[in-house]
Amino acid sequence: MTGPNTNRTLPVEATVAEDDIERDARALETVWGERPGFWSWLTTVDHKTLGKRLIVTAFLMFIAGGIEAALMRAQLSRPENSLIGPDRYNQLFTTHGTTMMFLFAVPIMTAMGLYFVPLMIGARSLAFPRLNAFGYWNFVVAVVFLYVSLFVNTGPDVGWFAYVPLSGPQYSPGHRVDVWAQVVTFTEISALCGAVNVIVTAFKMRAPGMTVNRIPIFVWAQLVVAFMIVFAMPAVATGSTLMLATDRAVSMHWFNPSEGGDALLWQHVFWFFGHPEVYIIFLPALGMITPIIETFCRRKVFGYTPIVMANITTAFFAFGLWVHHMFATPIPELGQSLFTAASILIAIPTGIQIFCWLATMWISRPQLTVPILFVLGFLFTFVNGGITGVMLASVAFDKQAHDTFFVVAHLHYVLLGGGVMPLFGAFYFWFPKMTGRKLSETLGKWHFWLFVIGVNVTFFPMHILGLEGMPRRVYTYLADTGWGPLNLVASIGAATIAISVLLFVINVIVTMRRPVNAGANPWNSSGLEWSVASPPPSYNFLYAPLVESRHPLWDISVDLPVLTGFRTDRREVLVTTTFSAQPDSRHEGPTPSIWPLYLALCMGVVFIGSIFSPWFVLGGVGLSVIGLAGWGWTGSKPSGHERVSTPAAMPERA
């Protein structure tokens, strides 16, 4: 259908008339907007809707994982407690770790990227909206599968890294480990779909003028992490789906030493993923810090290039550290030395970023809002976790502290300090953009102080407990050990964290009941995402913004330059060249579709069914063919308005 308003070209250097703006906005809303109703809910491909949904789902997982943690802390609060038995405790700590790593931390960091990357680079959508929906639904399958299994007493019980031979068929009969292996599979599919989407979007859909050295640091972080996901996730997918699950389901011998298999191979493939995983959580959090500091210090960040280079360097080093999780295994000494050196080395790029932020804040007068308070909380808490990380990089110390509460303390300082604190800061910072409403600062400050105090009260004593020899993953301990008082302190800290998170939830609920009044740019921030309404319209940007600096909203004083000429009768997005972001082509984005959900359910049949019979795999693949056909069919309707550029007709631009 060709409407009267399509493909209009306005005179260059003119200001877009308000009538034109209103007319184009109405037309685009018709094309991009979501229809009301349940069907639309199931079929949506809007990156903002799916991003918010993923954030909410992953946050619910944070609460679920938190409840599991609270139950464990209740059990450990005094010696020889009988609240939870050993079998249930094993399921709790495994589900807690699996939930927090696979169903909360990675998805929520990715979700922030899936929501904000298009908005920050001036794009109307992600490169592959249906792939994004497919990734989300796979994630939902993982969530439902893990928690249904837990409630029917089939929750995994071998730790979040499921070491063989404990997780192999001989020592873990039944289906508990199978649940773990397939939950991991779904989350890998989901993460990989998101990573490809972010990479192609950031490479090919940046607003005209957003050259490589003008990409926002948050987008850089998401881009680097997307590459890390591409190279890290296949390792655990191989380990869990192609090795562990097949050892268990069809009697393969990957990890069976009596038939030439190797238990250490599991540790290699797991930690080749598992260590980068930490940075997959941590780097997006660092990316959130820069815009928060810039906004509340009213200064452009010091050291843009070193920060970007530090991100990339961290990603490279992250792949060279995995063996430091295996110092207690018979690894050759040369290997141990190499991985010790690499583990210490990675502190340098992280240090560079921290010094750049300190330099930015140094001569400014930071406005102490909740987002920047969480950044300050991050600096304090994460540096502590980082220092114990350098301690653990030493083989001699690691062998003493291995599998003790010292490691539990270290990893929680790093993940809560380095991941969750910046994430909460980011919630407060970008909440107005996502919902049009500002969260309460008063409740936010209570949330912040209780959270920072709670984290330190919970996890600092664990360093001492670990040094005193308390092993992790024990459901109780004897009174004679003397570990009771410090465990009680840790449990009180956990309760404090729970209260702080409850305050955050109350803050969100109360705020959402208020009217939309935040305005487009409530913090007077500099990124492109703040140039559109809050919450953003379905099409994000009415026209393509022309970017002339790293801080478009701070550097342009009069009016925002834009490129017009898009069709308004279909979902058209602008494709630009990879490095210099010159306009190159217009691409028609897909409409809503049920097939991503259908195909995710087919994946459910394949992978969950494979636990019970290989025939489910065949059945699931057969059903998938229908889904692929449907996806392809609805995605290949002729529009009759195509303008072709063959390679001969229009050579590639630089």
Partner: protein, 202 residues
């Protein structure tokens, strides 16, 4: 809100592009990297397992047969020819030739998929006898899943071209399909050398 100044227009830009100018090409490349890397990890694990054995293949396990895998390798390499012609016809927007070469490519990629069944048994071991057998079956099995996906994609695209009017952008998709097929065949050359020929050398 700041007013909007028109700095240019995008109305003249093309809506169908090929190769690295197309989003789908980049997406295909992304999944090729993921699948190629997964293959590399499994091959690394195969070689890691090798260290646990004095002989490779293990004692009382025959070498993989070479006849069927070599024939299939030749067929896969030959299938590159129709894939190249599909890509060429697509880039020239020559629908008649594209349809013809898509049919040839469909046959050329379906045959190796069928032969793959005998190729698995040409490993001359089962997946559940030794870790060597598990590793070999996993590698070939994983590649078979890539082969299957590409065959479904090729057959589906061919079928669509014959039963419905296709948009011009599907020419670009056909070109990307060939791009993925080169990767599938190229990956198999490495696997063939390591899994079928390798035991005679390693």
């Amino acid at each position: 809100m700041k007013s909007l100044r028109v700095a240019g227009t995008v109305g003249d830009l093309p809506t169908v592009t090929f190769g690295s100018r197309s989003l789908m090409w980049w997406g295909t490349l992304g999944f090729m990297v993921i699948e190629g890397w997964t293959t590399a990890i499994i091959l690394a694990a195969y070689l890691y397992i090798r260290q646990n054995y004095e002989t490779w293949p293990p004692l009382r396990t025959p070498y993989p047969s070479l006849l069927i895998p070599t024939i299939n390798l030749a067929l896969l390499l030959l299938s590159i020819i129709p894939a190249v012609f599909v890509a060429r016809a697509a880039k020239r927007l020559d629908e008649r030739r594209l349809k013809r070469w898509l049919v040839v490519l469909s046959v050329a990629c379906l045959i190796p998929l069928v032969i793959r069944w005998w190729e698995l048994w040409a490993l001359n071991t089962r997946w559940d006898t030794t870790a060597y057998g598990s590793a070999a079956w996993t590698i070939v099995g994983f590649h078979t899943s890539l082969l299957l996906l590409d065959v479904i994609d090729t057959l589906g695209l061919t079928l669509f071209y014959f039963i419905k009017p296709m948009p011009v952008k599907s020419f670009s998709d056909a070109s990307d399909n060939s791009f993925y097929w080169y990767f599938t065949v190229g990956g198999w050359v490495v696997i063939y050398l390591i899994v079928y020929v390798g035991p005679r050398i390693l």
